[in-house]
């Protein structure tokens, strides 16, 4: 256990050193958030509420969306693939610790730092510039915390799983790009899923992606009542478990198939 904590701590320290990049990243987040908010506000026009969201909530949504990018490594994460391509994975697999745990501890450290430095900061910018909605009751904050933890877990387990494709194919990066792309569209990153037709939402619900962005948004904005929120959290937990299990199975199968390049 201590080893994993140490790994997480190292990851935290590592992420902290990229201060300039973090600042620049925040600039990017804010600019894109500004653009998306402008689009949303223009879309609303004279309407006060659409699909149960008012304008301020929709604008807040664009902030949460941006906040999620670094926290969930939403755009891309190819660390394991790189380690397979370089041969480093051989050494990693020989370590006296769980391969999954090895990566998870590091990702957790990195995610926590990004949640704070980029996620919270963006929301503060938004609060100052736009004014944002915030969860009302303490129970809502607790639900949000659990939701974020599960969202991260789903994101990590998913990224771990698809990175393992490197064990089978040299085109892993290309394949994973497809998956990452699908996840942006279906997570509610571009537009709240509520704005999209029911058939589209139904397709998205077949995947774990909505639980990365859309679910935290719904819980944060209080768009779902108590029992429904609990149900969402349970769905998240179920997906997380399923993805972790799938990762374990893939890892076991993959290790046997592994072809180490480089070294």
């Amino acid at each position: 256990m201590r080893t994993y904590l140490a790994l997480a701590r190292l990851a935290v320290q590592r992420q902290f050193t990229y201060r300039a990049a973090t600042l620049a990243g925040l600039l990017t987040n804010f600019f894109f958030g500004l653009l998306r908010a402008a689009v949303i506000v223009a879309l609303y026009g004279q309407r006060s509420t659409v699909a149960g969201m008012d304008v301020q909530q929709a604008v807040t949504y664009t902030g949460i969306s941006q906040a999620g990018i670094a926290f969930l490594s939403l755009f891309s994460w190819f660390e394991i693939i790189h380690s397979v391509n370089s041969g480093q994975v051989g050494a990693d697999l020989l370590k006296p610790m769980s391969f999954f745990g090895f990566w998870m501890a590091q990702d957790l450290g990195q995610a926590l730092v990004n949640l704070l430095l980029r996620g919270v900061t963006i929301m503060v910018f938004y609060a100052l510039y736009f004014g944002v909605s915030t969860p009302s009751a303490p129970a809502a904050w607790l639900a949000l915390a659990v939701c974020l933890l599960l969202a991260w877990l789903i994101s990590f387990a998913w990224r771990f799983l698809i990175n393992l494709s490197a064990f089978w194919t040299p085109n892993a990066i290309g394949l994973c790009r497809l998956f990452y792309g699908a996840s942006w569209i279906m997570s509610g990153f571009f537009m709240p899923l509520r704005f999209l037709p029911e058939w589209f939402q139904a397709i998205c619900r077949l995947t774990p992606f909505p639980h990365m962005i859309n679910t935290p948004v719904e819980i944060y904005l209080g768009l779902v009542d108590g029992p429904a929120a609990l149900e969402l959290l349970l769905h998240q937990a179920a997906w997380a478990l399923a993805l972790i299990a799938a990762g374990q199975v893939a890892l076991h199968a993959g290790v046997r198939k592994l072809v180490i390049q480089g070294g």
Binding site: A21, A24, T28, L34, L35, G174, R177, I185, F190, L196
Partner: protein, 269 residues
Amino acid sequence: MAYTLELYRRLIAIRIRAQMQYRSAFLADVFTTAVLNGASFFSLALVLQRFDGIKGWSLWEVALLFGTVDSAFGMMDMIFSGFDPDTFGQRVRMGDFDRMLLRPVPVELQVFSAEFLLRRLGRILEGGAILLLAMANLPVEWNAWRVGLIALAYVSQVAFFGGLFMIGAAITFWTVESIEAINVLTYGGQELNSFPYEIYNRYLVYIFTYLIPGIFINYYPVLTVLGKPDPFGMPWFAPYLAPVVGLGMLALGNAFWRFGLRHYQSTGT
């Protein structure tokens, strides 16, 4: 000059052949990019339909904006792949760029031909498809002038974003950390130009009219082609400023690149 062009042509041909070696991976990449970008436009289209357009612009009018800048950006990205600040910064850091400086061939030629990402074709084609669909679905008479204006806008955008890429690459001579700022202008600029400027707040519009004249490379040509009223009261020649802005940015990029090159001190690897 002819020699340089011939060399460029040959080097690019090598890049293309290399990428075609893994043909299935290449096709998959092109397909993936096209599908993904297309899908995100598709979900935007669904939303636009639900909201009945945006600030008086219908779905297909927005699609004209969106498709043009999407495809043009992809084209720029393919041609200027070597100058992509992210990958170029790596080259500088690893000392690869120093190697280029030592060769008896113009360094710009080498940077241009260092990368030529054919897979950007996915985006070029997808954006192009949206553009063509928009043209087909708009109640506009597509005469030579209108088509020419769109083509002019397209080329201007390639030049504009190419110049930005060159500036970004030059910045990596000094620091690799702050490239995000340029990414705001390139990727952000592309996103910004995908929508009508009416939706942006005053200050943003001022910045992108007078500081970084992005408003002229896509919005004004499209506005004019569609015959929509000008909410900003620009002079009649506004859409024709597109090539001026595009070439201007390219020239600026080139100047900054030369400046950076002159003052470049290696990483010392």
